[in-house]
């Protein structure tokens, strides 16, 4: 019964006009630079970026657990945790490096450059992991398109640096 809410939400999303969902996706993307700046401010006020990242994770985790407890977001299959590959627990550890580095670099480099570099790094690593099929990601070989894309990425990161 409880899981109905999440699926209903999903059902609503499915009935939503695509434009609305697109707006939603755009909105969620816009959250990221704001988040980076909030964390940066927290780091500056506290005088410690790692401490800020820990607090940020704490509030984020609290919000997510509250959402879960509200029962509107489905009933997770906790027994699955045992079956989860061990490295899949490390997502948070890796993510915390992103939070720390973005909070550290935003005041130094500006939001655009920081997030540009983040996106670039993300895409490059994504293409590489796809190519080798690491981490149980479905394998996607490096096609000519992707080579061009990697080249463009490098050029765009270079240009981003020039604008400083």
């Amino acid at each position: 019964m409880v899981s109905l809410s999440w699926s209903r939400l999903r059902g609503m999303a499915a009935r939503c006009p695509v434009e609305l969902l697109l707006a939603l996706a755009l909105g969620s993307g816009a959250l990221l630079p704001i988040q980076a700046n909030m964390n940066a401010q927290l780091g500056r006020s506290l005088g410690s970026v790692p401490l800020a990242a820990a607090l940020s994770y704490l509030t984020g985790a609290a919000v997510l657990w509250l959402l879960l407890l509200s029962g509107r977001f489905g009933r997770p299959d906790w027994s699955g945790l045992e079956r989860a590959p061990r490295w899949s627990w490390l997502g948070g550890v890796l993510g915390s490096w992103y939070i720390i580095s973005s909070a550290y670099f935003v005041p130094v480099l500006g939001t655009t450059m920081t997030l540009g570099l983040v996106v670039g790094g993300q895409a490059i690593v994504g293409v590489v992991t796809d190519h080798y099929g690491w981490l149980d990601v479905p394998r996607h070989r490096l096609t000519p398109y992707r080579r061009v894309a990697l080249g463009l990425l490098v050029v765009s990161l270079f240009l981003l640096m020039q604008g400083r």
Binding site: G29, A61, G91, T112, D136, L153
Partner: protein, 588 residues
Amino acid sequence: MDLLMAMLGAGSGGGFLSVGAAANAGLRRVLRSPVAAAAVNFSVGFLMLTLLLLLGIFGPQSFEGLGQVPWWAFGGGALGAMYVTVNTLAVARLGLTTTTLAVVCSQMVLSLVIDRGGWFGLEPQPLRPVRVVAIGLLLVAIALTQLDRDRGSPAAPLASGSDAGDGRRVRRSPAVQGLRIGARIRGAKGRRGLGFGAEPSPPPLWIGVAISFYAFIAIGIAEAGLGILLPSILTAYGLTPGTVTLLFLSQVGGYITAALTSSLVTARLGLGRSLLVAASLLTGALLIYGLSPVWPLMVLAGPLMGLGIGLIDAGINTALVQEERTAHLLGALHGFYGLGAVAGPAIATTLLALGLNWRQVYGVLAGLTGLLVVAVLAAVVGRYGPLRKRPADPGAPAAAVLGQALRRPVVLLFGAFLLIYVGLEASFSHWAYGVQVMARSTPPTLAGYGVSAYWLGLTAGRFLLGYGLRSLGALRVLSFSLGLLLAGLLAWWQWPDARIGALVSLPLIGFALAAIFPTIIWLIPQRVPAALVPAAVGFATSAASVGAALIPTAVGWAANGLGLGMVPVLMLPLAIAMVGLHWRLRGG
């Protein structure tokens, strides 16, 4: 200069995010709930950061600034949570491509707006055309990778399906099947590792594995503890820094003997007994160090120590790599050596701080290796199977086999590779701290963190190695490691800033070095006939120990003349020599 650091720092953030996303997809598949996966994810991140903060990795912290934090700055985490939730809803309908593009697009545009307006208390930056072009290109690039993912490969719909985290839609995509097989292998390994093997007949392997791991921790401690004790020994006997290096050099004789005899000893005595002899030699040498009334006796004990360490090193490496069931443990084995090497100085420092003198510290170290003697003795007396094994009879006298092995160029190549490699690794552990503190006037704590970061990188790399070998193959792992090593060395040389050293270059170097030793050992059975493997491994590991004694000493002498600041430069030719050897290895 700052720019490269920025690229490494922020770019790696994105890279980790990408890997983290893959990890998260794994959690979502089993939990069947994206929100729960994100909750686990955030909690793990929080716990890890808290742990690191409590351990003092980031230095002392204070909450004094808490009062001055503007209220909105606490919202970052909540926004992250919102992002995850909204994003999953959108992905389910729009697909991964469109969602990613939309997210990146709005992210970058808003970033430009924030920078231009100088929001959040930062100074405004004018909107430059070149940046707009850059972001346009970035979007095109992302679009290309994403579109290609959807069209290019038949598995594409599954990819977006499983990435969307929709539990009902998880099909048996190749990735999921890979996951299951992986889980099965892991499960089997786990059972074997815990000694619950379904088949009762063969003796449990975990005893041997545990002894091996402990042996490597012990030799790590014994080798690395020496550095901390040197100053005390120096004053006790009234030596100079020049004469004290005799202690290192005296061990070389033992290593060379081990190189030439380890395969003979194992063939004669069997693995268990030769380990017993080796552990006893090592313990005896440490006891002599602790009890010796005169300096020359210490020097005389050096070869015993070298021989003990060399025999343990060669015997266990050979045994693990020859047994198919344990070859994948090589990385972990050397990881445990790294743990010992991290713990050794820490144990020695702590004991000294507790008021023990250096002789008593040697007593404690001898006790630690004495435990190994006891364990091996118990295994030998209890007729524990895996340790009773002797190398397959090569059908020729052991000495002749050794001769045959040494006549193979590839064996000499492996030996040279390890000699240089271990020399480099030991040079780091000896000199990195000195370079940071003396030549670059880094505060000692920061330099200490740098050295710990180096060891942390090394240890992490070794525990990850099994994975790398499986998915990349040995030669690619080596290419990758050497590339990283060159990059790390260049970074260490070019950016003397202590923070870069501690955060980027030293851990990078450690990580790059991690794979080399175990990978070479792993390669030996692939390139050398089975009958010659013990002799080849024995030779290679002992050549490595020779390198560990000679190269840091040579680097030290060179640094005496040129200044400590030149140490990073001195290491570059060593790394380049390894690249050359690797090139030969690939060719032949």
